[in-house]
């Protein structure tokens, strides 16, 4: 640690001479001055963002908030969680009520442009599916003609559903209820033949709310691409950069096999990428406007992407989702960290 600090100090001097001055933006400075991060999360979606029985927030999306706080303050606990509904989330981000939105939000061109947002790397690749009771004997989504379908309002889900049925010349009746719990309750009471949402969310609903999860099946078709990413508002590129590279650092750490448990054993290794991640080769922290140990803090306190995945939605959780598209690129998935150098 001492050596790290020394290196950081050296880097500070060196950096001032070598690199151009970092232009700090409004959000970055405001968060730093406040001393805590206001992070927009789900009101309660098991595996992605939900308070546990002790009131601590946990989930894949929550881990992104914690990672950014760890990089910025060296302490993953310095986060104030703001639970938001699907309808509040963009307004809260645009108005500055939150600094970043990490709430299973699908990255779309319209949200990127018209809403005035920027999105970090995709931290979960999902797709919209259908959950149906097994006793209906439906084998695939094409058999859903004429069905009544429960859907959350105001999401891309609602549009995808309509597009899918229009494209296949099928009819359906939507039942649109604002709160997910009420919607799922209506589905499990038999008000709808199917409920549609992102497949991960359906797994979460099934494990949390069905009286017998085995009576329900997620149909094989995924009718949309739903890449979830962290959103920030336009106007502060430094803040955007930080969020972006914090997420990439967790990807890179997994690729290199660095975990929260074994990170200290990587000290002094010769791999240049590892040296940069651990802050032993200084420069990146300075460029991002944070301490050189930023990535070390993130991995030490939050863990790498794979750890976060397994803990929250994978084999270590109730959801038991397979890695699938969310495996590393060299293992058949889409998780690909841009080069950290």
């Amino acid at each position: 640690m001492k050596r790290l600090a020394l290196l950081a100090t050296l880097a500070l001097f060196g950096g001032t001479v070598l690199s151009s001055q970092v232009q700090a933006g409004a959000t970055f400075d405001a968060v730093k001055a406040r001393g805590s991060l206001n992070c927009g999360v789900h009101t309660g979606l098991a595996g992605f963002g939900a308070p546990d029985d002790k009131g601590n927030w946990a989930g894949l999306d929550v881990d992104v908030c914690r990672a950014v706080a760890a990089a910025l303050f060296g302490d993953a606990k310095k986060v104030k969680y703001v639970p938001l509904t699907t309808q509040q989330r963009f307004t809260a981000l645009q108005s500055g009520e939150i600094d970043m939105l990490s709430r299973n939000t699908t990255l779309t061109s319209q949200r990127d442009t018209e809403l005035g947002l920027n999105f970090g790397p995709t931290n979960f690749y999902d797709g919209q599916g259908f959950l149906v009771p097994k006793k209906l004997n439906v084998k695939n989504a094409k058999e859903l003609n004429g069905a009544t379908i429960c859907v959350l309002p105001g999401t891309t889900t609602e549009l995808n559903l309509t597009d899918y049925f229009r494209a296949n010349k099928m009819d359906f009746k939507p039942v649109v209820i604002e709160k997910q719990d009420e919607l799922a309750a209506a589905f499990f009471a038999g008000r709808c033949d199917a409920i549609t949402s992102d497949a991960s969310q359906l797994a979460s609903i099934r494990s949390a709310q069905a009286s017998n999860p085995d009576d329900y099946v997620i149909l094989p078709e995924l009718i949309s691409k739903e890449p979830f990413a962290t959103g920030v508002r336009h106007g502060d590129d430094q803040w955007f950069d930080l969020v972006k590279w914090v997420v990439y650092a967790t990807f890179e750490a997994e690729e290199k096999g660095i975990t929260s448990a074994n990170i200290d054993s990587f000290k002094g290794k010769t791999d240049p990428t590892v040296k940069r991640l651990l802050g032993e080769t200084p420069g990146l922290g300075k460029a991002l406007g944070v301490s050189e140990s930023w990535a070390y803090d993130v991995i030490k306190q939050v863990g790498n992407y794979g750890e976060s995945f397994e803990r929250n939605v994978g084999s270590g959780s109730k959801l038991k989702l397979p890695r699938g598209l969310n495996a590393q690129w060299n293992k058949g998935g889409l998780i690909y960290a841009l080069p950290i150098r």
Binding site: T113, R166, I177, E178
Partner: protein, 389 residues
């Protein structure tokens, strides 16, 4: 030294001051409003958020569960919002009518001499008006979706009528156009009955002769459509709902969402209207009733001809507030999935991201509807007001 009273400076003049204060207050309001609007526009521009109402013409791309007019996802956002407005108006109009009827009956029942009737009415009022309306809506919705059987095990109380957790399915007449003629005849008959009643009242006021206008009116309302139906060849074909695939097809549906919303709003508002009706009746002095009875009027006539017309004057202003409340409370529909104005508006806002325009539009529409109700009720209030002689 002059003994004239010193001239009051203009700023100490009461009239001038009053004007000055008003100008200052109006100026401050305008200034704050201008600041808010210009600040919002500047912020939106700085964040590259699109503004304006251009989104209304774009394709909506989402489906709406129930609609009185044909709606397709390819239609525009403007039409989607119109569908939401119509759904809101349907609930509001039916809710106002039903809650007035139930409220009046319960209000009169509370004053009944019958111990059981009065206590039951009190129980109704005290229970329903003291539970938040949102909870009542969720209760009715849960009762319908959890309490009724699935579509395949639907109750079938009458041939062609099915009751399940998918709603109440009713057969519709399939008479090849005659059904519209019957409907028109019904409307015509109702209009005729109203005119007959007015004529009968005027004649009684002038000549003292009474006319059985209620019986004649009922005869007209039942007879005329029946006559048209017989003339149309007495068709009996019905489009009966049939279980096909997932759901019933054919006939018409009263959806669980609509039923829960209408029931919840009606029963809740009726409990307030009952109290208003009771207060109105109690405001009429007992001497009026005694005098009317002494003149030989029957109990029903006393209520209809003496007490209620006077009570109406007390009842109408607070009743207007209840009608407005019911209309605005219908926006809670979003909690139980009825596609009302707010539900459709929310979806529109979320998909276009134009929150400020969308909310402004919703507020303007609710304001227009509410002002419409107010104008009508104020006109009715003036009409029933005591005419000074």
């Amino acid at each position: 030294m002059s003994q004239d009273a010193p001239k009051t400076p203009w700023w100490n003049d009461q009239g001038n001051r009053a004007i000055l204060y008003q100008v200052l207050v109006v100026g401050a309001v305008v200034l704050v409003g201008w600041y808010l609007i210009s600040n919002t526009l500047a912020n939106l521009a700085a964040r590259n958020i699109a503004t304006g109402f251009g989104f209304l013409g774009r394709e909506a791309g989402f489906a709406i569960g129930e609609s009185p007019i044909a709606f397709d996802p390819a239609d525009s956002y403007a039409k989607a919002i119109l569908v939401g407005l119509l759904n809101t108006l349907i609930v509001a109009v039916l809710g106002v009518a039903l809650s007035t009827v139930i409220g009046t009956i319960v209000g009169i029942a509370r004053l009944s001499g019958n111990w059981l009737v009065a206590r039951l009415a009190t129980l109704y009022v005290e229970t329903l008006r003291n539970i938040p309306v949102l909870l009542q809506l969720l209760f009715w919705y849960a009762l319908i979706t959890e309490g009724l059987p699935a579509a395949r095990q639907a109750f079938n109380p009458l041939p062609g009528v099915f009751l399940s957790n998918r709603g109440l399915k009713l057969p519709t007449p399939d008479w090849g156009g005659t059904e519209w003629a019957v409907l028109a005849a019904l409307l015509l008959a109702v209009l005729g009955a109203v005119m007959l009643a007015r004529w009968a009242r005027r004649r009684q006021a002038e000549t003292g002769q009474s006319f059985p206008s209620v019986r004649a009116g009922l005869g007209l309302i039942l007879g005329l459509p029946l006559l048209v139906w017989l003339l149309g060849g007495a068709p009996v074909a019905m489009q009966v709902p049939e279980l096909k695939g997932f759901n019933f097809e054919g006939g018409t549906t009263v959806s669980p969402e609509f039923a829960a919303l209408l029931t919840g709003l009606t029963l809740y508002t009726a409990s307030f209207i009952a109290e208003i009706v009771r207060s109105g009746i109690l405001a009429v002095s007992p001497g009026q009733t005694e005098a009317a009875l002494a003149l030989g009027l029957k109990r029903g006539q006393v209520l209809r001809l003496v007490v209620l017309p006077q009570a109406l004057r007390v009842i109408i202003p607070p009743l207007t507030s209840q009608y407005l409340n019911l209309t605005k409370n219908s926006s809670l529909a979003v909690a139980i999935g009825y596609p009302d104005l707010v539900s459709v508006g929310n979806t529109t806002i979320n998909q276009t991201g134009q929150a400020i325009e969308g909310v402004a539009l919703l507020m303007a529409v609710y304001l227009a509807v509410s002002l419409g109700i107010s104008v009508f009720m104020n006109w009715y209030d003036k009409k029933t007001a005591l005419v000074g002689r």
